[in-house]
């Protein structure tokens, strides 16, 4: 009996090990292919620790908070009266609009892996909605919020999107974070003719009538920063490194074309590390061997921390190497540690340290609502724009109907944007500036360069 047991357990080990190898092999291949798992998971961060956003709750009205919320300076209280816009006229498609309220949905992950990243977006959207309500609402109507939890699971996102559009009849949805979740809800929004405001910077190559993209698409983030580093630092040779999934791969493809065809520089190496990789020793040695003028990086999540710690440990610092990253916002710095980043450059459209009146008011209002320790990254700011763009479009259209809102959206300007000024393009992306921030030891960035307004171009010719 005892012998039998030993044999069995040995056989078991054999079988187990084979399964193990095959699984991990599959994981390695999946990475090399098109792992869409979390496009622009640029973070395992976002969101402040003082998260008051109720988890997974539905039917939460933000009216209660609207009385003591700080509103952006220079925005007059809306004088539009609901009586001048009778419900029968402003809504003809069965949306949830009545004489004194309109309902919108918020669809982010408040549980699971992505919760940490998406919480900041939820907070920013709630702040914007509370401010709009305090300023008299939209067409004289207060905004009510139904929040749903995508639970970091893409099919759940699709199901909740359907629930929001079909059962709740919301007039618009602010939501999604990863490209994977956006791709999952896209068919639902197109079929039910809903309206989605999507905040994350992403890889581009998408445009839908039913979606507005309030973050940067790839060319806006990449081209201007490469031009800058080429001109400012005289960079000729580049080493590209990213995590292995769709966003870094698409971004690096665009970067390579731009470096080779426009800047006439050389790409001396291109490397994609599996998601979650924590060993960068050999890659760092390769980089030392190639001595690139610039390391151009899009490493995400936990790998990001290991990557910067090991760079530092291997003696690669801003004193002897220029590094430009497109995946580090203030949120990421918390995990990486400011001392490992000091002097490196990050390309984003927004930094918390931006010195303008809009941003000061935004940061103050955000901290008042969500706690003084809040850190605001690029995506959080982009999420804040969603409700404002929707409000402007609805008031311009004089209607909540999706078709009319969409038709009224191009050329809408948001002058109170914390990033300065944005304008909606006919392709549903935003005109925005690209900025280069230099990391400081305290976790904030010093803005060293600001581009002109860049036209969004989700399908760049010559870059595919």
């Amino acid at each position: 009996m005892q012998l039998l047991f030993i044999d069995r357990s040995r056989a078991l080990r054999g079988a187990f090990s084979t399964v193990l190898c095959v699984t991990s092999l599959w994981a390695a291949f999946a990475g090399a292919g098109c792992n869409k798992s979390s496009a622009s998971t640029s973070s395992d961060p976002a969101a402040s620790k003082t998260d008051k956003a109720a988890p997974a709750s539905t039917e939460r009205s933000t009216e209660a908070t609207s009385t003591d919320v700080m509103t952006p300076p220079g925005v007059e209280k809306s004088t539009l009266k609901a009586a001048d816009y009778p419900t029968a006229k402003v809504m003809t498609t069965g949306l949830k609009v009545d004489d004194d309220s309109v309902t919108v949905g918020i669809l982010h992950s408040t549980t699971g892996t992505m919760a940490i990243s998406e919480t900041g977006s939820v907070q920013a959207e709630k702040l914007a909605i509370a401010q709009i309500n305090a300023l008299g609402g939209i067409l004289g109507r207060q905004i009510k919020v139904i929040q749903e939890d995508g639970a970091s699971d893409w099919p759940t996102f699709a199901e909740k999107a359907r629930k929001l559009l079909v059962n709740d009849k919301v007039a618009a949805v602010m939501g999604c974070w990863t490209s994977a979740s956006r791709k999952a809800v896209l068919p639902v929004f197109e079929k039910e003719n809903g309206l989605l405001y999507y905040p994350t910077f992403y890889e581009g190559l998408e445009q839908s009538k039913n979606v507005f993209y309030t973050g940067q698409e790839a060319t806006q983030q990449i081209l201007a920063s490469l031009d800058w580093v080429h001109k400012e630092k005289g960079a000729k040779s580049f080493y590209l490194i990213g995590s292995d999934y769709i966003w870094p791969r698409t971004s690096m493809k665009i970067a390579r074309k731009h470096i080779e065809n426009v800047l006439h520089g050389t790409v001396v190496g291109e490397e994609f590390a599996p998601l979650g990789n924590t060993q960068f020793g050999s890659i760092i040695n390769k980089i030392k061997l190639k001595k690139p003028d610039v390391i151009f990086a899009a490493v995400v999540g936990g790998s990001n921390v290991a990557w910067f710690k090991q760079l530092n440990a291997a003696g690669v610092t801003s004193a002897n190497q220029t590094l430009l990253t497109i995946s580090v916002t203030e949120d990421e710095v918390l995990g990486i540690g400011g001392e490992n980043l000091t002097g490196f450059f990050s390309s984003m459209k927004y930094f918390q340290s931006l010195d303008n009146a809009n941003n000061k008011a935004f940061v103050e209002a955000f901290k008042k609502m969500w706690g003084p320790k809040s850190v605001i990254g690029d995506v959080t700011q982009a999420a804040y724009l969603g409700p404002w763009i929707w409000r402007a479009a609805v008031e311009k259209a004089g209607s909540f109907d999706v078709d009319k809102v969409v038709a009224a959206s191009p050329d809408i300007e948001i002058k109170i944007a914390p990033e300065g000024y944005v304008k909606v393009h006919a392709n549903h992306h935003l005109w925005s500036k690209a900025r280069i921030g230099k990391a400081k030891a305290d976790g904030q960035f010093e803005v060293v360069h600001e581009s002109d307004l860049i036209e969004p171009n989700p399908f760049p010719k010559g870059y595919q």
Binding site: S17, E271, F272, G281, S282, I283, A314
Partner: protein
């Protein structure tokens, strides 16, 4: 490129291979005891590493808030504490869960997998859903320069030293001490061991706790390399099992040889190819070798 530079590059690349080897070995040592000696498939092994890492983080937070002057020295007691905390949790887990399942090895797999999910959620809910990093003392940061062109990361040297210490300890304990004999006797023939007066329950419990404690040590050491999050453990678990299984589950020398060959293959291939291809080639080779030798590289000769 000058000859000198080639020399430095070979030295640094050699070190990064050795560094990966010690990381893999440190991860695998705890499991070599639990899985290799006791035959328990512990899917929660990665989470025990995370416990160790969180203990260091906790110490770092406490030092920062209450005794900033101790920043240079807190790390050593933190690592020791990581060993004992993870070991204590392992002790309790064995008592409540594992010992009921020694006769049902497949069920342990499910039970410990459930345990790992529960522990991950615990970290997420009660510690921090974000990735955290411990504030490291100055002497662990940066690089050590034997010559101007060679940079050897200090954290790598630290992990290496710790691994040598732990391996030596485990070796002595398992193969040279009376306790090691009792452990091996219990695994080989529980009934007979019990009959000759070995308290097998006690042996099991301490062995499991020891394995978990070593996992905690490994986790503590890894705070010098990367960050710690609720799911960090699951990143390590596959590599850990791979090393133990490939080496021949019940053999300590096998574990060392297997960690060494996997690390060198991985790091060399990564230098000459891309990292995804390096992983693919390494795993393919392992599969082929395991098909030929399902028992792994080394086996203990058993008279059956």
């Amino acid at each position: 490129m000058s000859l000198n530079e080639v020399g430095s590059m070979i030295a640094m690349q050699g070190f990064s291979g050795l560094s990966l080897f010690t990381v893999l070995l440190l991860m695998a040592l705890g499991l070599a005891i639990i899985f290799g000696q006791m035959g328990v498939i512990n899917m929660a092994h990665g989470e025990f590493m995370a416990i160790g890492a969180y203990v260091v983080y906790l110490f770092s937070q406490l030092t920062q808030n209450y005794a900033p002057g101790l920043r240079e020295v807190y790390f050593v007691p933190a690592v020791v504490a990581a060993f004992f905390v993870a070991g204590a949790v392992g002790y309790v887990v064995e008592m409540l869960l594992i010992r009921r399942l020694y006769k049902r090895p497949l069920d342990t797999l499910l039970a410990t997998w459930g345990l790992s999910l529960a522990m991950q959620q615990f970290f997420r809910s009660f510690i921090n859903p974000k990735e955290v990093s411990a504030e490291l003392p100055e002497w662990l940061l940066g690089a050590f320069n034997p010559t101007p062109s060679i940079q050897v990361p200090r954290n790598g040297i630290f992990v290496m030293g710790l691994t040598i210490l732990v391996s030596a300890g485990v070796y002595l304990l398992m193969l040279k001490s009376r306790w090691g004999i009792r452990i091996r006797a219990t695994t080989q023939n529980r009934v007979m061991s019990s009959a000759v007066g070995i308290n097998t329950d006690r042996v099991d419990r301490f062995t499991f706790a020891l394995g978990c404690g070593i996992a905690g040590l490994a986790g503590a050491a890894f705070t010098t390399i990367g960050s710690t999050g609720p799911t960090s453990g699951s990143l390590y678990i596959v590599d850990t099992f791979l090393v133990v299984v490939f080496g021949g589950a019940a053999n300590l020398i096998g574990t060392i040889a297997s960690a060494f060959s996997i690390a060198q293959a991985q790091s060399l291939l990564e230098f000459f190819l891309t990292s995804a291809m390096a992983k693919v080639l390494t795993l393919m080779t392992i599969i082929v070798i395991l098909m030929i030798r399902p028992q792994g590289l080394f086996t203990n000769k058993l008279r059956t």
